[in-house]
Each structure stands twice: as C-alpha cells, then as structure tokens.
C-alpha cells in the first residue's frame, strides 16, 4: 500500500483537468502511471472515498477528487457515501 501515491493520484484528479480527461478515457491506463496495486486502483476507480480515508488519504483530497471527478459531482452523495461507512 502506498499512501503517498494514492494521495498523489487523488490530488491530480482533484486539481488537474488533463488528468481527469485521461482518467475518464482510460482509467486503468491512467492509473498505471502511479504504480498502484490492484486494491488501490480499485479504490480510485470505484470512488471508494470511505476506504481511501480509512487508509489515510486526506479528506481534503477525497472531497476534491469526488466533486471534480465522480460523475454526479454531488457533495450530498459524497457525504452519504461516507455516512454509510462511518
């Protein structure tokens, strides 16, 4: 598990439009560039923000990641996802 690389990819998807574009076109190929293991890739591709926070990713990053990258962009859905898990 690489928390640093997880935070890096979540940060990039939260602030870089180019990263979001690549991710939406081919998420697997995009994530290959971050040396994540299978479970880490799954967390990101499934927008499993609760699990990301659980493993130590900053909530500042997970919220930005969700709001900018997750298809609904909904803060309400984000909080609902967290509340179901915590």
């Amino acid at each position: 598990m690489s928390l640093n690389r997880l935070e890096q990819v979540v940060y990039d998807l939260g602030v870089k439009g180019g990263s979001r574009k690549q991710f939406s076109k081919d998420p697997e190929r995009f994530l290959d560039g971050y040396y994540l293991d299978a479970s880490e890739k799954e967390m990101v591709m499934e927008f499993n923000v609760a699990r990301l926070i659980e493993v130590g990713v900053s909530p500042l990053l997970t919220m930005g990641f969700w709001v900018l990258t997750e298809p609904s962009h909904s803060v309400k859905k984000y909080l609902l996802k967290l509340s179901r898990s915590f």
């Binding site: 909530p59 500042l60 930005g64």
Partner: protein, 275 residues
C-alpha cells in the same frame, strides 16, 4: 520605520462565494464583522496587510508541500472558480515581502518563496473583504502548512509570527503593517461530520484569546483539535502566527456566528494591547 500596528483573526469559508445562502441575520452579522475589520484597517492607516493562510491541498500536492511560504512578487486569486468572487490581481508590497523573506533566511526561517502565484481562498477572501475596501493597501501572502501532513507545529507557527514581527521592525522604510490570521474556527472538510459546527469549542478558543492565554492554545494537541473542531480548526495555527507577531496582545471579539450552511464556526477578533 515599519511597525505592526494591528492584528485580526477571521474566517475564510469558500461557501460564502459559492451561491450558498446563510440565514439572513447571520449573513448580515458576518458582513458587518468583515466591514468592521476593513474599517479598522483604514483607521489604523495600514499600508500593508500580511495575510497568513493555509493551503487546502489545492495549490500544493504530495509532490511538494512547502511548510512556510511567502509570496514576494505577482499574486492573483482565488484559484477556485467562485460564482461571486472572480479572480483578480492582488497588489503585493514587494520590498517589504522580500525583506521579510531575506531577514527570515538570515535568521533561521527557511522560507519557501513564490514569485508568481495564484493564491486560494485563504488569502483571496480576506483580500476581498477587508483589504480591497481600503484603496492603496497592499498585501503580503504567507502560507503555513497546517492541512497536509506533515503539518507545521503550532509552536512553530507562533514563533514564525514573532520572527515576522522582528523582520518588520528591521525594515528601514515607514510602513504601517496589519497582520491577519485567516482561517478557523470549527469546520470539518471532506470528512463525515462536514456541516457540523462546535460553537462550544469555538467560544472556548476565543475566550482564551481574549485572555491572551497562548500557552493553553499551544498545549492543545492536533488530535484534540481534530476531535473538537475538525480539520478546519487546525487553522488556529494561522491565528497563533498572528498572535506571535503581536506578542502580549489580547483578542477583542468582534463577532461569532456558527453557520452550518457554510460548514464553519465563524469567529472574528481584533488583537489589541488596549486592555
């Protein structure tokens, strides 16, 4: 000669400029508090406002996390796209900012430096609300890393304030400088309790500042702050920096409004030696 003539502690909730309405009277009270601070900056005849903020994992990511950063050149902001706060240039007092940087580096402050910089709401909201209404007043933006681990310790932030004050005192030209601690109070950002405000904690913090009880604030652990005030309450660091720059000052509460709609307990204080 330059001197620090005043200090203020204030919040910077981005939701104020995102089309989210707070209850009408609370919104009026908040606007009045910002206006009071803007007016006081005018009364103090400030030439420059040092705004001490913190990034929110927006400007800086895991690839580079500057602990202490000062903007000394071209600055604009906010980097975020707010419906009610367009991006604009923020005039910087470059000679004084450069002096603070150089004085710091000669005296064990390892400043990171930004020469061309788009700041986030931590700087742009205070700039808009309390600096812009005062024509000709310039800013100096400073960032302390309190949001991204490894964080700057509270004691370091307080000491930085003292070091900033020493640098200002050593500047050879006349400048009347105000320092603003931008952030806080209780708010949870991105975690499950987001939207919760802990007014009891916020009032306790403000009461300590009214007493000038820095030691009690410095004794708080990050775990305690996170539990009682959320990630956003770690921004007490910026307040401690401002208090360090005005060592011995006490706070005078201007206003406090707990606003869940803006996910923030909004505290406004003036730092004063007049007590």
């Amino acid at each position: 000669m330059a001197e620090i003539v005043g200090g203020f502690l204030l919040p910077h909730p981005p939701m104020m400029f995102s089309g989210v309405k707070a209850p009408e009277q609370q919104q009026k009270n908040v606007n009045a508090a910002y206006q009071k601070i803007a007016d006081r900056i005018g009364e103090l005849e400030a030439s420059t406002v040092i705004i001490v903020g913190a990034d929110h994992y927006i400007l800086f990511g895991p690839g580079c996390l500057p602990g202490l950063l000062i903007g000394i050149g071209d600055v604009d902001g906010p980097i975020e796209k707010f419906s009610d706060l367009p991006r604009s240039q923020h005039r910087v007092n470059r000679p004084l900012a450069t002096h603070i940087m150089e004085h710091g580096r000669a005296n064990d402050v390892d400043w990171a430096v930004a020469k061309a910089f788009t700041v986030d709401h931590a700087i742009s909201i205070p700039h808009h609300m309390v600096v812009s209404p005062n024509e000709g007043v310039e800013i100096i933006p400073i960032y302390i890393d309190v949001a991204s681990s490894p964080r700057i310790e509270k004691r370091r932030a307080y000491k930085l304030g003292q070091q900033i004050s020493q640098a200002v005192d050593a500047f050879p030209k006349d400048e009347r400088v105000v320092i603003v601690g931008s952030g806080g109070l209780s708010h949870w950002v991105g975690s499950a309790p987001m939207g919760k405000v802990n007014a009891e904690f916020d009032r306790w913090v403000m009461a300590l500042i009214e007493e000038g009880d820095v030691d009690e604030l410095l004794a708080l652990s990050d775990e305690e702050i996170l539990a009682e005030g959320g990630e956003g309450a770690l921004e007490i660091c910026q307040w401690l920096c401002a208090m360090g720059a005005m060592k011995g000052a006490r706070g005078r509460v201007i206003a406090y409004e707990p606003i869940p709609e803006w996910i923030t307990g909004m505290g406004f204080l003036e730092l004063t030696f007049d007590f």
